[in-house]
């Protein structure tokens, strides 16, 4: 004999409308829903983390770009200043190169100065219209008369001829102005060409 007594006889008044449980396979519906929500939350979290990292990276790049632009501007300013200095140096170099022919003259003027005399101002300009002429305008003091003569004599040793001299005597100083022309050394006259032979 075999008896199965797994069920319990229930005398309770049954409620109408008791619905049976849904099939077990349908548990997949809420499980998939919860899984999709979890995946969504995970992806959104990852996106937010990536977005935050990308934002920080972009801010870093912007800051770096700003710094580099500042450095670029500073370099440009340095370069401009350097170019200005180069131009000045080039000008000085050009002036030094251009004034080389005048250096003996200037040396003579400087050496002509007596111990009690001073050069208060000296301008020596090449005339733009006729580059062969030099405009000389020194201001001398206080022993002016002898000093001017001495200076002109020393200048003459450098083979410069003085044209249109003007001088103006003031209180203890003498303003002098003249045009200097370098005396070229004498050229030898060219020999006449021999006559052509007759045929």
């Amino acid at each position: 004999m075999q008896l199965d007594a797994r069920t319990i006889d229930d005398f309770k008044a049954d409620r109408k409308g008791i619905t049976p449980p849904l099939p077990t396979i349908l548990r997949l519906v809420p499980i998939l829903l919860y899984c999709s929500i979890a995946v969504t939350v995970l992806l959104v979290s990852l996106f937010l983390v990536q977005y935050r990292m990308a934002t920080q990276k972009r801010d870093g790049h912007l800051l770096q770009a700003k710094t580099l632009l500042g450095q670029k501007d500073a370099s440009r300013n340095d370069r401009s200043a350097l170019e200005i200095r180069i131009k000045k140096a080039t000008d000085v170099k050009s002036w030094v190169a251009g004034s080389r022919q005048l250096q003996p003259l200037i040396m003579e003027i400087t050496r002509s100065m007596a111990p009690k005399s001073t050069i208060m101002d000296l301008r020596l300009e090449r005339d733009a219209a006729s580059p062969a002429q030099l405009n000389l305008a020194p201001r001398l003091g206080p022993d002016t008369t002898n000093q001017l003569d001495t200076t002109l004599e020393r200048m003459a040793t450098q083979k410069y001829r003085v044209l249109s001299p003007e001088q103006q005597l003031g209180r203890g100083e003498l303003a002098y102005r003249a045009t200097l022309i370098r005396q070229e050394p004498d050229r030898q006259p060219e020999a006449p060409l021999p006559p052509a032979p007759k045929p």
Binding site: M1, A5, I18, P21, L22, P30
Partner: protein, 288 residues
């Protein structure tokens, strides 16, 4: 589809049977809820709270008018449950009898609940609720009958203080079926001859099984409180009707100290198989 339906799907409750669905087992209905199991006698009320882990708590019993006891203790007991769901085992005002030639047509056990007259025929009594267990080898059946009016009173008695009735059954009948199914498990072997003694909170049920046959059944309610003399007096007459090789199968809702020794005195020279374990009835009600 309402919002409650969607909510029930999302919290998986739609995949569980409803709490008052009698066709489902207790654990499936309340997988992680605290519930309480009552035992209702004529002058006693016992209860045992089952925690969320499914472990029964300590039993409590009050020997007084159950209605007054319930009115006084309901708030305290209900606080120990999640939603007030309870199972009630009645141990009084029922009759278990041995019948023969009951209808065994397919579905007759279900029909017994809706149209008992169609199954019981002339044995049907108006205003009674029935449950039946057939002997698969003979034409005898064990029939449990209760007054429907009494059942409704019990329902009202527990619903008034706020309990929600998940199950209402007869403890002795459950224990008897458990004993029968535990001992009669194998086919083709020599059938068991034994004397079933079922005790459940004052109710006693005795069934004589001689091999495949159920010979005699006697059921009494409110037989004992703590003194076991009444049980001994009830069972003593069976000594002359038991076959010499018949043993004794004892099953109680809770182990009763000294009962086996008392049975050995009343029914001497018979091996006793004691199926009683602590919280047996509650365990059976939870697992089925």
């Amino acid at each position: 589809m309402t919002g409650a339906d969607i909510k029930s799907v999302l919290n998986f409750s739609a995949f569980r049977p409803e709490p008052d669905d009698p066709s489902a087992g207790w654990r499936r209905r309340f997988p992680s809820s605290r519930t309480v199991f009552f035992g209702l006698g004529r002058n006693s009320l016992s209860w045992r709270v089952v925690g969320r882990n499914g472990k029964p708590g300590d039993p409590e019993i009050v020997r007084a008018d159950p209605k007054e006891t319930l009115a006084q203790s309901a708030v305290n007991i209900r606080e120990q449950t999640d939603e007030g769901w309870c199972s009630v085992s009645i141990n009084t005002r029922y009759v278990i009898s041995l019948e023969t030639n009951l209808s065994r047509r397919p579905g007759s056990e279900e029909l017994l609940k809706t149209n008992p007259r169609g199954v019981l025929g002339g044995r049907y009594e108006r205003g009674k609720l029935y449950a039946v267990t057939h002997n698969p080898e003979t034409n005898s059946s064990i029939l449990l009958s209760c007054d429907e009016e009494q059942i409704r009173k019990v329902e009202t008695m527990f619903r008034e203080p706020g309990f929600r009735l998940g199950r209402l059954c007869c403890g002795s009948y459950v224990l008897l079926r458990h004993a029968l199914s535990t001992t009669n498990t194998k086919t083709g072997e020599k059938p068991l001859s034994t004397f079933y003694v079922v005790c459940s909170e004052g109710a006693v049920c005795a069934l004589v099984q001689d091999q495949d046959r159920w010979l005699e059944l006697r059921s009494r309610t409110d037989v004992y409180d703590e003194d076991l003399t009444a049980i001994a007096d009830l069972l003593a007459p069976f000594q002359s009707r038991l076959s010499p090789e018949s043993g004794i199968t004892l099953v109680c809702d809770e182990p009763i100290a000294g009962l086996a020794e008392r049975l050995a005195t009343v029914l001497p020279n018979r091996p006793i198989q004691d199926l009683s374990t602590p919280g047996l009835l509650v365990t059976l009600l939870m697992n089925n």
